[in-house]
């Protein structure tokens, strides 16, 4: 039989691979162009130096921050807060979303409240975060949790409610029940959507951490920017901004690896 040749049936990945060098060169070109623009603007003094630091000043500041060890310390502090807050909301939010997705009464009871909190900016919690948790890691973790928990619950819940009924029929034919049904049918059926939700809410978390650390913390990337502003050190602020952007992208790339797991590919390919 002709259709029995394994490789002929795999979805073509070759065109993407052939495009590999362009996929690297094109964005690199844009970055270089932006950098040149920045350099030209500051070289020809189109903006005064105090409102736009030059690339050279930023490079110097980078060296300074790293040799002083402050930057590394701030990176670790911020990553730690985001990871703890994010893991906490995933561990509590995903199971709650799974449960709500399967219980109509639960949905009816909780969805309005969950929606209310989802639309409440996490930054609105800052006064309470400081009042309840004082200064340090805790208020920032609390804010990350408040920022990511509600969207994660709601995304998981709606993923569960869109599982095709046929999967549950098949599951019944083969006697999947209780926790086995949850772990071997419901969870894998929503996993691709949950991974997407994780990436989205991680994005929220990383945005929120900078604001959260501007108050209630004495280290971290957000605090670094706040300090730079207070000292009128915009070169240092730009260093922090670059680090925040790069780290955010790197973490997202890491989470994107989850969507390459073979047992979730189906969710992205059809």
């Amino acid at each position: 039989m002709k259709e029995n040749q394994p490789n002929s049936l795999l979805k073509a990945v070759a065109p993407q691979k052939r495009n590999g060098s362009a996929a690297l060169l094109l964005p690199a070109g844009v970055v270089v162009a932006l950098f040149l623009l920045w350099w030209a603007v500051s070289y020809f003094n189109l903006f005064p130096a105090y409102s736009l630091p030059s690339p050279l000043a930023v490079a110097k500041s980078f060296k300074e921050e790293f040799t002083a060890g402050r930057m590394v310390n701030d990176i670790i502090a911020s990553l730690w807060r985001v990871v703890v807050g994010f893991v906490l909301s995933a561990v509590l939010g995903i199971p709650l979303g799974l449960w709500l997705g399967q219980h109509l009464a639960g949905r009816q009871a909780f969805v309005p409240v969950l929606n209310f909190f989802r639309f409440l900016s996490p930054l609105a919690w800052i006064p309470f975060a400081i009042l309840w948790f004082h200064i340090g890691d805790k208020p920032a973790i609390f804010l990350i949790f408040m920022a990511t928990f509600f969207p994660l619950v709601l995304a998981t819940m709606s993923a569960v409610s869109t599982i095709p009924k046929i999967y549950f029929r098949v599951a019944k034919d083969y006697h999947y029940k209780g926790s086995e049904l949850l772990n071997k049918v419901t969870l894998p059926a929503v996993l691709p959507q949950v991974i997407t939700a994780l990436r989205v809410s991680y994005g929220i978390a990383w945005v929120v951490i900078v604001a959260a650390e501007m108050v209630g913390c004495q280290d971290g990337l957000g605090y670094g920017i706040w300090e730079a502003r207070n000292g009128l050190r915009l070169d240092s602020a730009v260093c922090y901004m670059i680090i925040i952007g790069v780290l955010g992208m790197a973490m997202d790339r890491l989470l994107a690896q989850l969507s390459k797991l073979p047992n979730v590919r189906w969710g992205y390919e059809r």
């Binding site: 894998p188 059926a189 996993l191």
Partner: protein, 251 residues
């Protein structure tokens, strides 16, 4: 032959409907239906679309309880669906192994899996996921899954209707071959008259809603049957007549 392949026990299946009626919120779908499916028999249900064929299968499988009447079933029942019946997060092997969940012995399970893969000509595709397969291959995996282990009764809900015509023809032959290897009791729902004539031991023609069996006849010709066999053409004529789809009726 390996242990699980041939069932030496006589058919343990029993499937009967007694005066079954069903409606969905007032809309009568089935009326006073009686049906006894003999062990090992291949029964095909044909009827106009929307006449309640799928409802009838759901009653047989137990997914739906009838409003009145009695459904009796005995034996392990499995269903082949039109499409999307495979779990997309499981590989071909893992999907087939679902049908072998009751087999405790690991070596026997793997032997049986290998035999099934060979039977459906999908060796080399063990680790593929359903979305990497063609429609026909997916349905073959579904067939392997329902045939795995000690299933007794197969309910088939238009299993080939989502496939293109040529694949459909091939799948019919495939099904006949698989059942020769592993006999099962089959209740097969289709709107495809050819399919009914080629596969059935007994054809039941259903009337419009509320459906009841308006004609029933046996096709004795041995299988596999060619599409152009006299017996097949004769059976098709009968079915067409009963459905009011023959040329004379149109005039």
């Amino acid at each position: 032959m390996f242990a699980g392949a041939m069932k030496d026990k006589p058919f343990a299946s029993r499937l009967t409907l007694e005066k079954v009626s069903h409606d969905y919120s007032g809309l009568a779908v089935l009326r006073n239906l009686n049906l006894v499916v003999q062990p090992g028999e291949f029964v095909v249900l044909v009827g106009p679309s929307g006449c309640g064929k799928t409802t009838l299968l759901n009653l047989l499988s137990g997914h739906v309880l009838p409003v009145s009447g009695k459904v009796e079933r005995e034996g392990v029942i499995r269903t082949v669906y039109q499409y999307d019946g495979l779990f997309p997060w499981l590989t071909v092997s893992e999907n087939i192994l679902m049908g072998l969940r009751d087999e405790q012995d690991k070596t026997r399970r793997n032997q049986e899996l290998a035999a099934l893969l060979e039977l459906i000509y999908l060796q080399g595709f063990e680790k593929h996921y359903p979305h990497q397969l063609s429609g026909g291959m997916k349905q073959r995996v579904e067939l392997a899954r329902v045939l795995a282990g000690d299933s007794d009764i197969l309910l088939m809900d238009e299993p080939f209707s989502a496939l293109d015509y040529q694949t459909r023809l091939r799948m019919r032959a495939e099904l006949v071959r698989l059942l020769e290897n592993r006999p099962r009791t089959v209740v097969f729902v289709t709107h495809d008259i050819e399919e009914a004539a080629q596969l059935a031991d007994r054809v039941l023609v259903l009337s419009n809603r509320p459906a009841t069996i308006c004609r029933e006849f046996k096709i004795e010709a041995p299988k596999p049957r060619e599409l152009a066999d006299d017996a097949v053409i004769h059976a098709m004529k009968l079915i067409l007549q009963e459905l009011g789809l023959n040329a004379h009726a149109a005039l």
